[in-house]
Subunit: 337 residues, 2 copies
Amino acid sequence: MKKLLLIYVVLIGTFMAYLYMVYFREDSGGPLDQEVGLHGEVDEKYVMVNFLTGIDYWKNVLKGFEDAAEALGVSVEYRGSTKYDVHEEVTVLEQVIARNPAGIAVTAINSEALNAAIDKAVEAGIPVVMFDSNAPDSKAYSFLGTNNYNAGVTAAREMAELSGASGKVGIITLPNQLNHQERTQGFEDTLLAEYPLLQLVSVVDGKGDQLVSEQKAQAMMEQHPDLVGIFITEANGGVGVGNAVQSAGKLGQVHIISFDTDKGTLDMVKSGTISATLAQGTWNMGYWSLMHLFHLRNELVEPMADWRASGVPPLPTYVDTGISVVTKSNVDDYYAK
Amino acid sequence: MKKLLLIYVVLIGTFMAYLYMVYFREDSGGPLDQEVGLHGEVDEKYVMVNFLTGIDYWKNVLKGFEDAAEALGVSVEYRGSTKYDVHEEVTVLEQVIARNPAGIAVTAINSEALNAAIDKAVEAGIPVVMFDSNAPDSKAYSFLGTNNYNAGVTAAREMAELSGASGKVGIITLPNQLNHQERTQGFEDTLLAEYPLLQLVSVVDGKGDQLVSEQKAQAMMEQHPDLVGIFITEANGGVGVGNAVQSAGKLGQVHIISFDTDKGTLDMVKSGTISATLAQGTWNMGYWSLMHLFHLRNELVEPMADWRASGVPPLPTYVDTGISVVTKSNVDDYYAK
């Protein structure tokens, strides 16, 4: 009889504990309560769509996207065109849309080609944000990327420091691409406004190619033997310019400022051939893209397909993901880990 | 005996349910598990510091700050100077810092005065971000606010639409304040670049005052009887310009574009006196300021006091909180609810 009583006490105690837990869960939120903090569902899948999927540049963007997904308890997937091919990226994006994901972060291979697909997704209620390269006339909710004009300003100030703010400098760039035009403009405007003794003597097309940029740099140094610096607005050309300056025996006289942080560029920064390179805030692009998409998907902000026409932007329209200057002194922090 | 068996079955069933719940909680995270989703502690207090605390303009900023705090399960507090008084805001900010809060969102009454206090906070490990008005030379981690140049661009395009893109227009502004200079510049550049027949004939100082702006608008209309529009870059003056155009009997001929959404401005938009006013993304400023601070405080991104000098910006350096055009057709959405 005593034994039976003991069993009763244990079981009734358990029952009380159960009731307490149920009450506690309702009171302060449990695993099924979406109201405590920001978190989604594991089957809530966000897709990142890019082009040239294999290049190093995206690695840190993906890492940011993943880190945000982990923080929010949601899933991610990566898709894109392996080649620099507009039609391939459009096709991939349309395939992704057809599977109705929780949201899509897109980088545009050019500023127009993806508009129709992006608009279709937004009108179908799939949140879309742009990162790295914008499609400004699409219905995407926001753009997260580098302010390229400001990057050019930063490059000019760095060049002034390297050269003592005096002498002839040149730019090797991609004159037909908007982001490179902006980098060039920021550099040029800053020389005019802040460094009257730094004279921009040449702006040429390096075609985004290592050899072409090398030849252009050689020609520039022959034409201007007293050149003190070259700003090269993309990484392939940067390595070419490095080779040209090295071959000409002008290391230390002609200062090179390059762009981005692929291994070839970082190696030349480490060896001192390239004086500085500009690193983009790639992790920020991925992380805050997912954060924006999550807010739209879970209606923490109001997703309105016609937001550009009809009122308050539901999200910040532009997020400047920042730029930093990489030199010999901090280059080790930028190698992929 | 059967009765006893039934009680046993019920109690054992309850015990199983209890075990299941305990298991389930451990498996997928419960209310005490900090790893599921983004959430903080109730005693994690974030403070917003502003000036002219009583004005309508801040209401929606505070709402955004509060909404983010609620989503993340943290607390907020508001402090600021009641007057337009630099020393008062500095004192308030120093008092806030002394209490070591989880983070501080600051709007700067001017771009320099708060730098020392902001830097002290950041160096002491208290995250600081700027909203609405920046302190660009401080160590604050980011700035969240309107792109005023772009707001001027938007105003110019709206003016072109109202006036048929032809005729004489004027600007009434605060020529000594950076944000107003940027609005003016964006407007001016856009006329030059896109609307050759819209001619800017006058830019004058309205001193942020209703009566002064009214007199300046009267004088402008007398000097240019064929004026077709006035862009007034702040709200007090907007109401003054509205009164001037009304008194002159020129409603419909002189189109007014104003700034912000206080009640006086909205009433004049509703009545048709002011054709359009530009609404800033104030909720976004508050919401994403708290989100940034939360990420620094909880080390989801690395808080480094010397981030400007030493490397990758831990947060997006600038968040453009967006702008929208308020006209008679959507003005009702902008009255405080």
